[in-house]
Amino acid sequence: MSILVNKDTRLVVQGITGRDGKFHTGRMKEYGTNIVAGVSPGKAGEMVEGVPVFNSVEDAVKATGANTSIIFVPAAYAADAILEASEAGIELVIAISEGVPIQDMIRVTPLLKQNDTLLIGPNCPGLITPGQALIGILPAMIFKEGNIGFISRSGTLTYEVVNLLTLNNFGQTTVVGIGGDPVAGLYFIDLLERFENDPETKAVVLIGEIGGDAEEQAAKFIAEKMTKPVVAFIAGQTAPPGKRMGHAGAIISSGSGTAAEKIAAFNAAGVPVAKEPAEIPVLLKQKLEGKI
């Protein structure tokens, strides 16, 4: 078991003829992801990495039964691509595109809800169910099949921590990079709920960042609804207020969203928070053995 994606996922790549789209199509295919179609308006009939290209998501869905989409189109067109997928009946959209205007995402949100479309991202590295499907730009070799669910707002920090987990023999059910933008699709709570309901997942690692109050909400959800152990880490403990740290989301303003507040919320919910990435597997082991 796993969450959101598995070997039955039928993936369409939007923006497959672009540099990034083509490169990552090759990598995802190599991993074994079931890529059934690509979309690039005006390029129907072409093949990219052995994948047939269509002019629209609608055409791709009709011809191949695609149910999941990954988006590599430039930021200015990302919202349009997300809605195209949603209107074509795609169930899960993963938007990799970085730099999407916030208003675009705000306008997209109610339409996705209306169509029951799930979104991950934008500005995210995607997700992976090790051994089954890689949908994103994550480096495949660091992952390993196992029982840990993983949710993160970050990219390379995710790789750093997953690598530590794998080295310590903690494989993963599914690893999801939700992205760092202020207005994004699925967030901590949506995914914690799915991991709680996934029989294979034994524990969850959550990597948060400064800014917003998603971590505080996650802590509340864990305290009230989760039976499985969760271990957390918060990046940006030393970041000065009011400064944007690369991610649009990682900004502290007017006294909310600080690392200290998030750590306090997690501790109150019985979630140990690692002081540095290397401490995460240690805490996970202790938590699973019931020592903390």
């Binding site: 705000i106 730009i137 400064i210 030393t238 970041a239 540095e276």
Partner: protein, 377 residues
């Protein structure tokens, strides 16, 4: 991106929000002329890109031209939270019957633009929000319909008991929402919105921030940018594909990825050091990027040691190592550097670097400890 109050007032005016006349001044003699021209009681207001101007003494009332000159002298050149006041806005002083707060902001939780309004406006609004949050109305706007007239009216009626005044305020709310959307703002705030004894409703202060991701389609907003020295550095870095923010410490950091960069800063602090910056070089092994990044790091004279922390994912560590070696050949510096490589092809990368004599380590904590040790020499 932030803009000054005088710029926000200009945008408000363009959208028909009533704002008292004001004149921007760079010198005391300009202040004198402005006060004479306005020919009434004036307020002299520091134009700096930070909040809390009033409390810092950067906003003062002047009854006549002589007083305007006196306060102009006090405010021009003063320092507010690290910003030097280079210009002031001289504006008509309005008679204030009552102060209100209205503003729009993006709300992560409701994933919408949210209207905030309060009958207790003024410089203590943050205290009001903290201590009596029930006095702030929060209304998430449906993005599919925008702020509808009746919604604006209903909210305005909660602030104003007189229907005529409420209608004036509702019209301001609708205009403020329109300009918020059309300029891709992330904050549009009027504090205070005032009621005059004559029953007029006016915006006497304005604050706006904008979404950096949307500046590509907002040329008029982009033209208003007035970056300070520190921001100029950040913008220059951005143009080279780097994300740089200067901090106060002495250990320069170069990292791939924003989250890992923040975790690196945290780790340096955890082991007793102090990071000199946030610097995300993104996911490329291009030597030019490393050279640009090193030049930016070393331009900060506080830097006593540099920690390079790369987790190779799709970018292979041996490629990163080759980029670093090439960069080091072109940069001569006495500042000690420690390199941490991990992930794809890390062993090959570390082997390449060993030949050059750069200290290399494979874990983040080792790298942080080593960098701190080097910075203390």
């Amino acid at each position: 991106m932030k803009i000054h109050e005088y710029q926000a007032r200009q945008i408000f005016r363009n959208y028909g929000i009533p704002v008292p006349d004001g004149i921007l001044c760079y010198t005391v003699s300009e202040v004198e002329n402005a006060a004479r021209e306005l020919n009434c009681m004036v307020v002299v207001k520091a134009q700096v890109l930070t909040g809390g101007r009033g409390k810092a003494g950067g906003v003062k009332l002047a009854k006549n031209v002589e007083e305007a000159v006196t306060v102009g002298k006090q405010i021009l050149g003063m320092n507010i939270k690290g910003y030097t006041v280079e210009k002031v806005l001289v504006t008509q002083a309005a008679d204030i019957e009552k102060e209100f707060y209205v503003g729009f902001v993006n709300d992560r939780n409701t994933k919408s633009v949210t209207l905030m309004a309060s009958a207790e406006g003024g410089i203590e609004i943050e205290e009001v929000a903290k201590n009596t949050p029930e006095k702030i109305i929060k209304y998430p706007v449906n993005p599919l319909t925008g702020l509808l007239d009746f919604q604006a009216r209903n909210i305005a009626m909660k602030l104003f008991s007189d229907i005529k005044q409420a209608q004036k305020a509702a019209s301001i709310l609708t205009k403020l929402y329109k300009l918020y959307i059309e300029t891709d703002a992330t904050l549009a705030e009027i504090n205070p919105l005032i009621l005059t004894p004559e029953g007029d409703v006016l915006a006497i202060d304005g604050k706006m921030n904008f979404d950096d991701n949307a500046l590509f389609r907002q040329p008029k907003i982009l033209a208003m940018r007035e970056p300070d020295e520190e921001e100029l550095k950040e913008i220059a870095a951005h143009e080279k594909g780097l994300s740089y923010i200067k901090l106060d410490g002495n250990i320069g950091c170069m990292v791939n990825g924003a989250g890992l960069a923040m975790a690196t800063m945290d780790m340096i602090k955890l082991y007793g050091g102090s990071p000199a910056n946030f610097l995300d070089i993104g996911g490329s092994s291009n030597p030019q990027k490393v050279i640009d990044a090193m030049n930016i790091l070393l331009s900060d004279k506080n830097v006593k040691a540099v920690m390079i922390n790369i987790f190779g994912g799709i970018t292979r560590c041996d490629d990163v190592a080759k980029g670093l070696i090439k960069a080091m050949e072109l940069i001569s510096t006495d500042i000690p550097i420690v390199v941490r490589l991990s992930g794809t092809n890390a062993e090959e990368g570390l082997a390449l670097l060993k030949e050059t004599g750069l200290p290399t380590v494979s874990s983040m904590s080792e790298a942080a400890k080593k960098a701190i040790e080097l910075s203390e020499r």
